[in-house]
């Protein structure tokens, strides 16, 4: 008896010590009066690399930090492309883009920015063979006629050059091939990296050579806190100033806290459930539509996603260039039954749905709710929650029946999602449709941006009406700030930027 009591007692003691130890490492360096100081940020996903040219070029955590350090030639401002490092651009012919770079820009080490740096950066992105390299597949030649002019020649007309350039970060050509450079990189942006521990923390300090308004913050300190409850506790205990990407159920509690401000905003990200159109029974569009009609998405999203999502109007969130509203699929189990009967499955069928652990906001609850509704029309869906690497492997091999995930159109341009995932050659979901391919390729080659938007609206209609997948929700982002953090503006790419932030 004594041994058991001692053991339980010791266990309780360890627990208590562990809990108290957690709250010891708080430091409060916030607020020095003039608005300068350290902004303490907790990112929800780990920053594993600061190299925006290779495997992590489309990684949200990497981009969140990198955007404070590097700049791009053009930026997307309220949906429109605006000049940044490039002052202006022209198309001498449909295959050539010519950019005039600003001549008053220097890197943090004092060397001036030239077209050679822009060329080296684009070349590094293409050679890095990361997820963004495909955007530039048709680039034939990158030219530097003079120090401040950059030309990009493509083998066929490429209408997405400008939106692709919003993710091309310009790094110094002399350093870009040096992998040690990315342990503490610097660029032309408002901050430079002072220290970086992969997967754990990043420290940024003000770049005094920045050409624009000096940021009010002296330093930004990013720390990775994996558990949601850990981040919330750190925030309420004044150990961090900012975090984002919290599940909607946590926000309800935080909204009532006077020391915190919660900001929600529309993003480029949405939820989608794909069906493997190359596998029975999903080869039949009627089955795929039946899956959609069978689920009461209005009720589910109203209960599960309080202010965290809005019902989708099309396969792409509204904030994206080329998105257009489509005809909604109402909740109608009778119609679902009828479509199943027409397709030859009057009693439903058995299938499975996979997703990766932690992939999606409220993902497990959302999956449970959909599976419950599908069971009501006779479709038995087995849940398969997989570890991310396993999920990705199966996904790319098309070894699945249906899959749930969230995706972000990080360039803000419909081409990034539609042409990357829905072309027959992409082989991502087993769906093949020559008419869709034709529209998507025509849109990519179109230089007139209004005509491109029209073509993407047509492509979106095909994807939506053929129910290649279910597009239930456009996701809202959220950022929670402690009172005293001023001047934060959310952006739809869900990469919180703190250059304009000050502390009081």
């Amino acid at each position: 008896m004594r041994s058991l009591t001692t053991r339980l007692g010791a266990l309780a003691l360890v627990g208590v010590l562990g809990l108290t130890a957690c709250s010891f490492d708080s430091d409060s360096t916030t607020g020095t009066g003039d608005g300068a100081g350290t902004l303490r940020v907790a990112n929800p996903t780990p920053v594993v690399s600061l190299n925006p040219f290779a495997a992590n070029s489309a990684d949200q955590p990497t981009l969140t930090v990198v955007q404070e350090v590097f700049e791009t030639l053009v930026v997307r401002d309220n949906g429109e492309i605006a000049p940044n490092l490039a002052e202006s651009w022209t198309n001498p012919d449909p295959l050539t883009w010519q950019f005039a770079l600003r001549d008053d820009v220097t890197f943090a080490d004092g060397t001036p920015l030239t077209s050679a740096d822009a060329k080296a950066s684009l070349q590094a992105l293409i050679d890095g063979k990361g997820p963004l390299a495909g955007l530039w597949a048709t680039v034939e030649e990158i030219g530097t006629p003079d120090e401040h002019t950059l030309t990009i020649r493509t083998s066929s007309a490429l209408g997405t050059v400008l939106s692709n350039l919003t993710l091309l970060w310009i790094a110094p050509a002399a350093k870009i091939t040096d992998s040690a450079f990315f342990d503490a990189p610097y660029g032309t942006g408002p901050f430079k990296v002072s220290s970086f521990t992969a997967g754990q923390s990043v420290e940024l300090v003000r770049n005094d050579a920045y050409r624009g308004d000096q940021p009010k913050l002296a330093t930004i300190s990013y720390r990775y806190i994996p558990e949601v409850s850990g981040r919330v506790t750190a925030l309420t205990n004044n150990e961090i100033d900012v975090t984002w990407g919290l599940p909607p159920d946590q926000l309800t509690g935080l909204r009532g806290n006077d020391a915190l401000t919660v900001q929600s905003f529309p993003t480029y990200a949405n939820y989608y459930i794909w069906f493997n159109s190359s596998r029975e029974p999903f080869t039949d569009a009627r089955v795929r539509r039946a899956m959609w009609h069978a689920v009461d998405f209005a009720t589910i999203s109203g209960s599960l996603f309080d202010q965290a999502g809005t019902p989708a109007t099309g396969p792409l969130p509204e904030a994206i260039f080329g998105a257009a509203a489509q005809n909604p699929y109402p909740y109608d189990p009778a119609k679902a039954k009828q479509l199943l009967t027409e397709a030859g499955y009057p009693n439903g069928f058995t299938t499975s749905m996979m997703w990766s652990t932690g992939c999606c906001t409220n993902g497990n609850s959302f999956a449970d709710a959909m599976i419950s509704d599908w069971a009501k029309v006779g479709i038995v869906v087995k849940p398969e929650e997989l570890e991310r690497a396993t999920w990705l492997d199966k996904l790319l091999k098309l070894d699945w029946n249906s899959t749930m995930t969230t995706g972000s159109t990080i360039t803000g341009d419909a081409d990034f999602t539609l042409a990357r995932l829905y072309l027959s050659t992409a082989k991502r979901n087993g769906y093949t449709n020559p008419a869709l391919d034709e529209i998507l390729l025509a849109a990519r080659a179109e230089l007139d941006q209004d005509k491109r938007a029209d073509l993407y609206a047509q492509a979106g209609k095909i994807v939506w009406d053929d129910a290649v997948g279910i597009f239930p929700l456009d996701l809202s982002g959220n950022v929670v700030l402690r009172t005293g953090v001023n001047g934060f503006t959310p952006t739809p790419n869900d990469l919180p930027s703190f250059a304009g932030v000050s502390l009081s």
Binding site: L8, S229, D249, S303, D368, I371
Partner: protein
Amino acid sequence: MTDPVTASVALGTPGPPVEADTTGDDGRPAAVPRRPRRRRLRLWIPLGVIAGYVVAGLIGPVLARYDPIATSVTDRLRPPGSRLADGSLALLGTDQVGRDLLPQIMQGARVSILVGAATLLLAGVVGAAIGILCGYLGGVVDAVLMRLADIQLAFPSILLAVFVAAVLGSSVTNVVLTLSITTWPIFARVARAQTLATKSRDFANAARTLGAGSWHIVRHCVLPAVASPLMVIATVQLGFVIVAEASLSFLSLGIPPGTPSWGTTIANGRDYLASAWWIATIPGLVLALFVVCVGVLGDELRDRSDPNLSTR
């Protein structure tokens, strides 16, 4: 796991008196016809609680129909005692997709007890067989198998379980296998020690002199001596096994999604500790109470099977 009391039971030597009031255990059982009241309570209260869990696990899911697939998102995160949309009462509240927690916990009890019993049966049979074999044969077989067991015991058992579970994948059978792999050495050691102590006792030697074969001696002399300490060890281990199953399920390496278990329910409630404490807290308390009762019962059985009382 190898505290002195267990070892003394196993070796058949008198252990130190465990508690001051256990005067009945000093080698004169006949002189003390009734155990003190406290001792009897220490046996019957945990037994009663455990019986309650078994009954809840057996008939609970039949009485309160629980469908792990059916969700009701409009009823989600309701506190204990709420009325649901269909008029029913959620005595212990609802989880994050509106499923009633009470039937879910009862279903979880069924899974946990089933996994615990199956694991102990498998590990017990395999462990006892290996232990008796080692103890009886001795020599190289003994050295090899027992060093294997030692090596495995030197390894943190939950770490080993996580590793094996990650390799095997998640299913109920695999959880039983995983936990059996981590538990068998404990049974093997006790069985071996008891065999060593018994095989050269007078009655065993007498049987051997009369021409009994090894199989006869193992069956009639060794096995009865091994059985009772193994029962005690099994009771003590039940608590560990159930906690290990819950830990694996918590890490989504145990019971697959779709089958409720205490561990998965606790894991589901992890993100709602501040807003909906009941999802993780109630199954946590249910699990804790069960494990404490099993532990008290195990300790009590161990005291009662003190070798001075159960000499063969």
